[in-house]
């Protein structure tokens, strides 16, 4: 097992830059998730680690060894593909054992390893079946089994759960978390599903347009998004972002003038904010509460009753829109006025350069 070091890595397709200089340290045993919108370069970065894409510039090291020019088979990595990529003509046993067979592993050792992987993944009864005879979840298990038996330094997962239905995805997520704990392995996981990212990761890497936007633990990213992109990307429903101007700033308390109203925001740490600065206020939907004395007034546009909570879409007086998640089964009606408030300490403030203001 080993960690991973990525230094100033770039990737161009012809003249088009896809990865624009990524630096990253991944410790041994960490579960790191790359998230970002489609086309942000997260899968490309994973494939560069695997050796399936050339590196235009920079270095990737697994453990102490720079692997830029090392063939995929010699990098000590195993990858689980989105499509599973099982060999259709081989049964599960042969699929799982293919890598060991190629490595010339003695038959008895191979057999023991395959059966051990099958036991860990609870698929002993599937060993004689062909991939076509398996369900999506079972195929996924086989693909993971194929990765496990090779005992790689680093496991790579490329959106492995995206072809499964919601219920199975939840189950597999828990299995992956258990597997990570059992194997104590370094795992790098690519997804666009932030629930997977938040629940599985020790560390999340948010990418956009080939640039790392923020690296941190799931709660760090949720509580202290470094910029507007991360603020809008992490958290479901998305954070409400409203443009405004600083009306007054005094010792950690900033008063922000929005269209027709003023709100207070608590800023932690040192930050230079001056009256008149353009800012963007960020409030999580879950931080909003229905409060008749609140500063945000609007009309209810849409209501989604989820049973344990209610998602309310509100149109503000100035035409802007907000999403609020209210606890329980809210009695609000579409078309009715609503007034919302939030705790000043729970709000986020971003400057004109889109960066977070304060810690």
């Amino acid at each position: 097992m080993a960690g991973l070091t990525i230094r100033s890595v770039r990737k161009n397709y012809g003249q088009v830059p896809v990865i624009k200089g990524v630096d990253l340290d991944i410790a041994h045993g960490e579960f790191v998730v790359f998230v970002g919108p489609s086309g942000c370069g997260k899968s490309t970065l994973l494939r560069m680690i695997a050796g399936l894409e050339d590196i235009t510039e920079g270095t990737i090291a697994i453990g102490d060894r720079v692997v830029n020019d090392v063939e995929p088979r010699d990098r000590g990595v195993a990858m689980v593909f989105q499509s599973y990529a099982l060999y259709p003509h081989m049964c599960v046993y042969d699929n799982v054992g293919f890598g060991l067979k190629l490595a010339g592993t003695p038959k008895d050792v191979r057999d023991a390893k395959i059966r051990e992987a099958a036991r860990i993944l609870q698929m002993e009864h599937l060993l004689d079946r062909k991939p076509a005879q398996l369900s999506g979840g079972q195929r996924q298990r086989v693909a993971i089994g194929r990765a496990i038996v090779r005992q790689p330094d680093v496991f790579l997962f490329d959106e492995p759960l995206s072809n499964l239905d919601a219920a199975l995805r939840g189950d597999m997520r828990m299995e992956l978390a258990r597997l990570h704990k059992d194997l104590d392995a370094t795992m790098i996981y690519v997804t666009h599903d932030q629930v997977e990212a938040m629940t599985l990761a020790d560390k999340i890497v948010v990418l956009d347009a080939g640039v790392v936007q923020q690296v941190g633990s799931p709660l760090e990213l949720y509580n202290k998004p470094a910029n507007l992109f991360v603020a809008g990307f992490i958290g479901a429903p998305n954070m409400n972002l409203i443009s405004g101007k600083v009306a007054a700033a005094e010792k950690g308390l900033v008063s922000v003038a929005l269209a027709g109203t003023r709100v207070a925001v608590v800023i932690k740490g040192t930050a230079s904010v001056n009256a008149g600065d353009d800012v963007t206020l960020g409030v999580r939907p879950h931080a909003l509460t229905a409060d008749p004395s609140g500063p945000l007034q609007g009309i209810v546009q849409l209501i989604e009753q989820l049973g344990n909570e209610t998602v309310v879409r509100v149109q503000l007086a100035d035409g802007g829109e907000l999403t609020a998640v209210l606890p329980g089964q809210s009695g609000h009606a579409v078309g009715a006025p609503i007034t919302l408030a939030f705790d000043p300490a729970s709000a986020h403030l971003f400057g004109a350069d889109q960066r977070r203001i304060g810690d």
Binding site: A50, G51, L52, E71, P72, R73, V77, A78, M79, F81, Q82, S83, A85, L86, Y87, P88, H89, F98, G99, L102, A103, R146, R150
Partner: protein, 274 residues
């Protein structure tokens, strides 16, 4: 019970008509083959006293056993090597070639446009220069070359449809390109290889032009090629000629009956690929 709809009746009628049109020449040949020697059968009436012995005589005079052996040797010389080369080249062109070298494939496509008849004269001089005239190699070597454009085109179409993820999974599993080809790609290409094998067998077995031009000795030719010599020698004995022609057809028909499912698959594959 429901009566078939009028359209169905018409369709069935047309199929039966087509079947009769297809089978009639065979039946006509069979009736002529069974006519007494020295007669000139019109091929439209069943002989009163069928002469089944004509087949035995045709088998003997045409030395059918030797022809069969010759055809088998030629098929064995052509088909396995052609299929192997086409499979490797198809894989190379589909999976190992960058956009820069796509023009290589166009050379093969160009080969598809050349009819055998167009190259037969230069081929004759080349084969003569190599000293292979009147040997089975005069048929085997040119046929391997002439089948390459189609074979490569066929196999490339198959390999293009194999997902790249499988190639990459094999690479990560530790396979070299060569091992990936043998352990992953070839087993997956079995249906395409089978179809190509059947088509090349059929074309080689029925090959007429090359054997007639390049090989003088009928015993070194394919069965279909030997039919030319047989015709020249026994052209006046219609029953014997028909019996001989039917005997030459028999192996092809037997192969077709054995592999009819694969034949249909091969033809369908040609219809949707490329």
């Amino acid at each position: 019970m429901t009566l078939p709809r009028p359209n169905t009746v018409v369709a069935r009628g047309l199929i039966i008509l087509l079947m009769i049109v297809t089978l009639l020449p065979f039946l006509s040949m069979l009736s002529a083959a069974l006519a007494p020697q020295g007669t000139y059968p019109n091929g439209l009436q069943w002989p009163a006293d069928p002469q089944w012995g004509n087949f035995v005589r045709a088998f003997e005079v045409a030395r059918m056993d030797q022809l069969l052996l010759s055809s088998v040797l030629i098929v064995l010389g052509v088909v396995p090597i052609s299929v192997l080369l086409a499979t490797m080249a198809g894989y190379g062109l589909a999976k190992l070639t960058t956009n820069k070298y796509k023009w290589l494939y166009l050379i093969f496509v160009f080969g598809l446009t050349l009819p055998f008849e167009a190259v037969i004269t230069p081929l004759y001089y080349e084969v003569r220069a190599m000293g292979l005239l009147n040997t089975r190699f005069a048929i085997i070597l040119p046929l391997i070359g002439l089948y390459m454009p189609f074979g490569v085109y066929w196999m490339r179409a198959h390999f293009l449809n194999v997902p790249n993820d499988l190639t990459e999974a094999a690479q990560l599993d530790g396979a070299t390109r060569w091992k990936e080809f043998w352990h992953v790609q070839v087993p997956l290409a079995r249906p395409a290889i089978m179809s190509l094998t059947i088509l090349l067998f059929l074309w080689t077995w029925n090959q007429f032009l090359l054997p007639v031009v390049l090989v003088q000795d009928p015993m070194q030719r394919t069965m279909a090629g030997a039919l030319g010599a047989f015709q020249g020698q026994w052209g006046t004995d219609i029953p014997l000629l028909c019996a001989g022609a039917l005997l030459i057809l028999t192996p092809t028909i037997l192969i077709f009956l054995m592999f009819q499912r694969q034949f249909v698959a091969a033809l369908m594959q040609g219809a949707v690929k490329g």
